[in-house]
Symmetry: C2
Subunit: 349 residues, 2 copies
């Protein structure tokens, strides 16, 4: 429950104050504020002076009440507990969106919670937001269905199954996985372990989880490799450690490990160290992950990576474009993660 607010005791100066000070009518001030045509140069000067002198600033909500738009965008990451966001959403996802929104005079609202369909719709209906960027998109995401049905503007960072008419930007995880295995095979590796997203994510049809698994199956088939994989519980260092130990207990012959997350890769390297394996001499590690982190480990991680800042910046940009030009055709962008070879991989011996 929100407690009662004290009344605006010293409410700011209003457009009426400016009008009086400049000796003109309120609509005239409004016209000048909004750069409308047909205002006498002399009047404009006088009004602008009054505005400056009084320190007048238009009331945000009053404008919106007339204008219709809230000038606010939401970035939604669905999660039961905000604590869990850690390690999955990194800062650049948020700063990228905030930067793009700011540059186009939008507010950026970061939502971390499990929305209900009602709450979600209400955000639009009550005019709290004009558009939404969706993170952690499932193949059959109810948010997508609901927003599409109600014709509320949104952009996916990720993608669902039916993409007809939808705007999104996503990473091409499937091809990243395939390339990762090809890269290792070219280095002479044949027994390669794979640590991938939680099984629960795949079961709930989370895009990257499904597609990376498909990529994995493709790679196995293409190179005729034996499957050695674990779907880890979360994407934590601990999962990387336990997953790696399990893989190596069963398959001591592994000479390389691919992971779908940078924290898991860190765990993998720890587990290898615990077993007295040197990376990359005894076992290579390749991650699909975030650049900055991959660069900070010892040895540094060879990784397929992308700029999360760029991804969410572009998603937000697409959102503002869509709001300004509702008739614009859907934009669909697939980003290919880039391979950066660092110290954690080498040719099989």
């Amino acid at each position: 429950m929100i407690k009662g607010k004290p009344k605006n005791l010293k409410q700011g100066v209003t457009i009426a104050d400016v009008a009086k000070a400049a000796g003109v009518s309120v609509p005239t001030v409004s016209r000048i504020l909004n750069n409308k045509e047909y205002v006498a140069e002399e009047t404009r000067d006088r009004v602008n002076q009054a505005i400056k002198q009084l320190g007048y600033v238009p009331h945000f909500q009053a404008r919106q009440l007339r204008g219709g738009a809230s000038q606010t965008l939401a970035l939604h990451y669905p999660v039961e507990s905000p604590h869990l966001v850690r390690g999955v959403v990194e800062t650049p996802y948020i700063t990228g969106a905030a930067a793009a929104a700011g540059e186009h005079d939008y507010f950026l609202n970061f939502l971390v919670s499990q929305l209900t369909p009602d709450t979600l719709l209400n955000m639009f209906r009550s005019n709290q937001i004009d558009g939404m960027m969706l993170l952690q998109v499932r193949l059959d995401d109810w948010r997508v269905d609901l927003l599409r049905e109600n014709e509320h503007p949104f952009v996916m960072i990720g993608r669902c199954a039916d993409l007809q008419g939808l705007t999104f930007i996503d990473l091409d995880f499937e091809s990243a996985i395939i390339s990762a295995f090809s890269h290792l095979v070219e280095l002479g590796h044949r027994e390669i372990g794979f640590l991938t997203y939680p099984e629960s994510w795949r079961n709930s049809k989370l895009g990257p989880a499904v597609r990376s698994f498909e990529g994995y199956e493709h790679a196995l088939h293409q190179h005729k490799l034996h499957p050695h994989y674990r779907e880890v519980a979360f994407s934590s260092v601990e999962d990387g450690i336990s997953g790696t130990h399990e893989l190596l207990d069963e398959n001591p012959q592994l000479t390389a490990i691919v992971t779908c997350n940078h924290m898991v890769a860190a765990g993998s390297m720890k587990a290898l160290a615990q077993r007295g394996y040197r990376v990359p001499e005894d076992c290579s590690v390749l991650a699909i992950g975030f650049g900055e982190f991959a660069n900070g480990t010892t040895p540094s991680l060879t990784a397929f990576e992308w700029s999360s800042y760029e991804v969410s910046y572009r998603a937000t940009l697409m959102m503002t474009e869509k709001l300004n030009e509702p008739l614009l055709p859907a934009q669909q962008i697939l980003v290919k993660p880039k391979l950066i070879v660092r110290e954690s991989t080498q040719a099989a011996t």
Copy 2:
């Protein structure tokens, strides 16, 4: 420039629609919406039914226009380029604030930019926000002076010099540094290197930079240690690498290194590896930094750490409390970072 919006073609259902459907007046609906007293049970039921049936949701801005509050909080991190936030602000700072705001029906706006005094004041004057949480606070922060002067509600995550009447939550960096050195001295280390915040940060009186340096001087004095330190340029892995090499070039006798940032600590470990030093056998590394990261390196980092989620959650909570009870006395909280001993430190040999 914001492009023109299309008019609200299919604007949602309004309070008037509900009133008509229920056969009552608009104020009556409003009373029910706001849980005012004195409404006949029977009327209430009828109206609530109409609300449900029509899927009515109150218009956000219209409410604000009358009520005064924007129900929006801003979290401000001042930075020339949003790219630079990386590695300094971690996700939990943002999710913690978002969670606390959400729980109290506030919107959370994440601002990453160099605000001008005008832009900052305008956010309040135009009623875009009710309050602000300040990150990266300098001892003589102009934002603090300005907001204090204009009596706009804010909370610091950090602290400035004159704390009279101000609400903040901050980490006790000074004591963390002192404790870090004491810990190492107790382990028998006498030649300890120190990698700290950029000199530019200290010059611009950024709180942690100033206080950690003071803590360092205190520690040197207390334990009669020789000074071996570098103020690194940014807080990146690369800075940690170069800083560590410089320290060791000059002082090969170092047996331990303390860093003020987790990325710098990662760089330190890389540099030591490059020199063929083992951590912790040949040199201990102790960081002031973030738990999750410290846990992921190999070897894992002994560190003084804190929960950034908790810190920004509490800051945001204090903000909402202050807005609800403007007369509440200022809350001032100093958090002591906690030492977690992991693998990167051991007794001097």
